[in-house]
């Protein structure tokens, strides 16, 4: 098939799924944080607030688009655009699944596989700071400027441990292409334990994984490292002066960055789309079992007397879960979707961790943040890298 047509179709599919994920990630975040704080979260717009993201988008679209006086107009408009573009670009090199064949056309579940995929993602994420810095500067206002200065210092500092921890699994995989990194993790020890980089010899990268996730929190400006937008000190930080769709741009960029970072962690450390134990030992049935269990739990709660308002919606959720469980029993469907299922499950768990931490940890102080990066994370990542290099050189 025509290269351009194929690329366009794949791009449209990835874009559609990504946009929907980003919309509902925000819903999931509000729900999870609400339940951590013993609240219900969005509940009014649609069943369980499921239409809330759409309502929010509409609201942001229809709000007045203010441009405060005194801003540097060109850069003020350009900054959110830059932020969202850069946060969406990295998705092109993320592999979601193995090669598949649809209607005689063979293709990979990945938009493109670059020879330098990892460096590409790093390069794009190192540019991401410009969106925030320019927004803060162009706003011509004190709080945004303070926020963007903090953000620049923070992102440069945390890029070092991030880069060093990415380098360690690269030494073991011996390639920079994200697809080949996943493929290098595809065997099993003693037929059961997956050779993912967190468990893979010569040195299991558990430390690198933890440091990567901590640095990722800082890179995406999430709690506990959300100093650039610390609302108790800086009103809203770098996006104080933004309203309407421009604010929505920054909002979306943050979620897109979270998604990218979590899928990078999945690919580098958790074996991408590979199941945690071999398919012939039953991992093909895991999605069905999981969805069936979810359906049973939902059904039980739906029939439970004390929750009258969930009675109908939980039964619908149960039916959908049972349907999915049945679909995953069909070999043709499972073969196609189980890699996506595993990729989604791993990335989803990491995203859940992001939200979980937001509901749990307080914010760092600025000097603590810097000291933590330079005198703890950086040495740990460097020692881990050197140990990995030594062990790979001896045993590899």
């Amino acid at each position: 098939m025509n290269f351009f047509l194929l690329s366009a179709i794949k791009m449209a599919m990835v874009m559609g799924v990504l946009m929907l994920t980003l919309l509902y990630l925000q819903w999931a975040e509000r729900k999870v944080v609400a339940h951590i704080q013993v609240r219900l979260g969005p509940y009014r717009v649609g069943p369980h607030g499921l239409l809330q993201p759409i309502a929010d988008t509409l609201k942001l679209l229809l709000k007045e688009d203010l441009t405060p006086p005194g801003v540097n107009k060109g850069l003020y408009v350009f900054a959110p655009f830059l932020a969202i573009t850069l946060s969406l670009i990295s998705i092109v090199v993320i592999p979601f699944g193995p090669a598949i064949e649809v209607a005689g056309v063979q293709t990979w579940m990945q938009l493109t596989d670059l020879n330098v995929g990892v460096v590409f993602v790093l390069a794009i994420s190192s540019l991401a700071v410009y969106g925030i810095v320019l927004a803060g500067w162009a706003s011509n206002s004190k709080y945004p400027l303070l926020g963007s200065l903090r953000s620049a210092a923070q992102m440069i500092s945390y890029e070092l441990p991030l880069g060093l921890t990415i380098a360690a699994p690269l030494l073991m995989a011996n390639t920079l292409s994200l697809r080949e990194i996943v493929l290098s993790q595809s065997h099993y020890y003693w037929g059961w334990i997956p050779a993912w980089n967190v468990l893979h010899g010569p040195l299991p990268q558990v430390i690198a994984f933890v440091v990567f996730m901590i640095a990722a929190f800082a890179e995406t400006n999430r709690i506990p490292f959300d100093l650039p937008e610390a609302e108790t000190e800086l009103v809203a930080g770098f996006h104080t002066e933004y309203s309407s769709m421009k604010f929505a741009g920054f909002f979306m960029a943050e979620y897109a960055n979270m998604f990218t970072v979590c899928s990078m962690a999945t690919v580098l450390f958790l074996g991408g789309w590979l199941p945690p134990w071999p398919a012939e030992k039953g991992s093909v049935f895991f999605p069905s079992v999981m969805f069936a269990a979810a359906g049973l739990i939902a059904l039980r709660h739906g029939l439970y007397r004390a929750r009258p308002r969930d009675r109908r919606s939980f039964q619908v959720i149960a039916m959908v879960s049972f349907g999915l469980a049945a679909l995953f029993l069909i070999p043709a469907f499972a073969q196609f979707f189980s890699p996506l299922f595993w990729f989604g499950l791993k990335t989803g768990l990491l995203l859940f961790t992001f939200i979980w931490v937001r509901g749990t940890l307080p914010r760092f102080r600025y000097d603590q943040l810097m000291r933590f990066a330079w005198s703890f994370l950086f040495p740990v990542a460097a020692v881990n890298l050197m140990a990995t290099a030594l062990l790979v050189a001896i045993f590899g």
Binding site: V116, F120, L122, A123, S126, Y130, L134, L149, A152, E159
Partner: protein, 166 residues
Amino acid sequence: MDAIIFLIFAAAAVIFGINVVLRTHPVSSALALIGVMASLAVIYLLLGAPFLAAVQVLVYAGAIMVLFLFVIMLLNAGSEKKSRGAWMARLAGVPLLVALLTILSFVIFRMYPRSVGVKFGSFAAGTVERVGSALFTTYLLPFEITSLLVLIAILGAVVLGYKELD
């Protein structure tokens, strides 16, 4: 296709380059410089050096220019004032510019005659593997000396930035 992309980004690089000089505000100049580096990265990519392209963006646009911008914003440097320039400068400047460009193009044409012409993507040594093995075999000594130089620069920065406690 390659030629069209090359022309677009070569033109962009030149326009951004002119903007670096012409802009009066330091932040705009710095942004134009980032534009130059990004356009150069695309040209490296076209020539078949993906690793160089990615590192160009990562190091120059992503690290060095962030520091530049950081310093400019921290100092809160305003727009510089423009003078109209001396008439002598204009009178002498235009012929000198023409002369410089003539000499440059002459030298380039002498060094690289038509037969040596560059082809898009024909350069095979730009992949990570080739760059890595070249760095650790042919260019090992310069590579190590460069890293020592960087170390010395860092030590110098630490010494300069060190505040005496009294």
